[in-house]
């Protein structure tokens, strides 16, 4: 029998109040082992308070070649930014 352990992506919340962030990947037989391996590989110095693992095959990624068209809808919408609106200097706290 020769079968590789599947690949998992690891996300760590470095402290309460922050998002989980992708830190890397590792191999593990199942989700429990993936969490334990993630602890040993990515948090040897208290880098986290919470770990997410997900098997890499479940991640769908956007295609970098289609980046321009994918993000095109937001490129010409300057009016979504606060600086687009002209207001007098005397107006405070806005």
């Amino acid at each position: 029998m020769k079968k590789d352990w599947p690949l998992w992506e690891v996300f760590i919340r470095s402290k309460k109040g922050l998002h989980h962030r992708h830190v890397g990947s590792l191999h593990a037989a199942d989700e429990k082992m993936a969490i334990e391996n993630a602890r040993d590989v990515y948090t040897r110095r208290n880098e986290g308070v919470s770990i997410w693992v997900v098997e890499s095959k479940h991640i769908t990624a956007s295609n970098p070649e289609e980046m321009d068209s994918l993000f095109e809808p937001a490129t010409d919408k300057v009016y979504r930014h606060p600086t687009f609106y002209n207001l007098p200097d005397e107006l405070k706290h806005m």
Binding site: K3, W5, G24, L26, A29, D30, M33, R44
Partner: protein
Amino acid sequence: MDTVHLEKDFQEKIDQEIKIEPKDFMPDAYRKTLVRQISQHAHSEIVGMLPESNWIGRAPSLRRKLGLLAKVQDEAGHGLYLYSACETLGVDRESLIEQLHEGKAKYSSIFNYPTLTWADIGAIGWLVDGAAIMNQVPLCRCSYGPYSRAMIRICKEESFHQRQGFEILLTLSRGSEEQKEMLQDSVNRWWWPSLMMFGPHDKDSPHTAKSMKWKIKRFSNDELRQKFVDVIAEQIKILGITLPDPDLSWNEERGHYDFGPINWDEFWDVVGGNGPCNKQRMHDRVTAHERGAWVRDAAIAHAEKRATRKAISKAS
């Protein structure tokens, strides 16, 4: 887009310091160079645990043992960061490990030297990790995203390694005559192999130009080696011993230390498999892997059984 255009775009990104990510276009030669370099680097971390583990059970105090254990655990972690970075280039873990075990992939030759005394653990931390850090810091800015991110993590952790090494040597330097001799002997043995870690001279390093153009490498072998000599030649004064090089002297004009010729015959001999410990290292690595096979298989079998049970209980 045709290949010529893609390659032009690729180089433009590199020139603008935009990182290349796994799914982006990259020339085959860039991918190959990275796979070779990153896997070699990962193998070095893993094989690098062997000479040090030799002293875990014989560390002179609990404090030293804890430090050394933590360091060896870090090396394992570094190997794993790097293997996963390498896997993003489309090679799987198993074949990387096979290449190492079949002797098709190299690891750093420095680990083919034996750790004869406790002082060697200090010398490895100071000189070998010191040389590695010198090499690795510029790699944090490498053009390939996953490699650069792995290197940032590694460099953060590596500085403790060098400090623990120097502390060991410092303690010996303040010890008995016997301990001082052990210290000098160790530095004598590790100095030249450490200088070899930077690789052949620039004129004999055919890949350098390409790697610099691709921003995989930022400094040449000789530049980094010189930097290392300049740092170590100063630090050694604190230990009150000398480096085993009669030609070592400060060159006012260059603003650098001059140093003697490196024995490249020895270097190529060790690379070629004839170092003092090449066979032992590979034997230990392969044996450990084979002995772990049943654990890996059992874990998979267990995971599959659990998954099946879960599926059945869901269905009923």
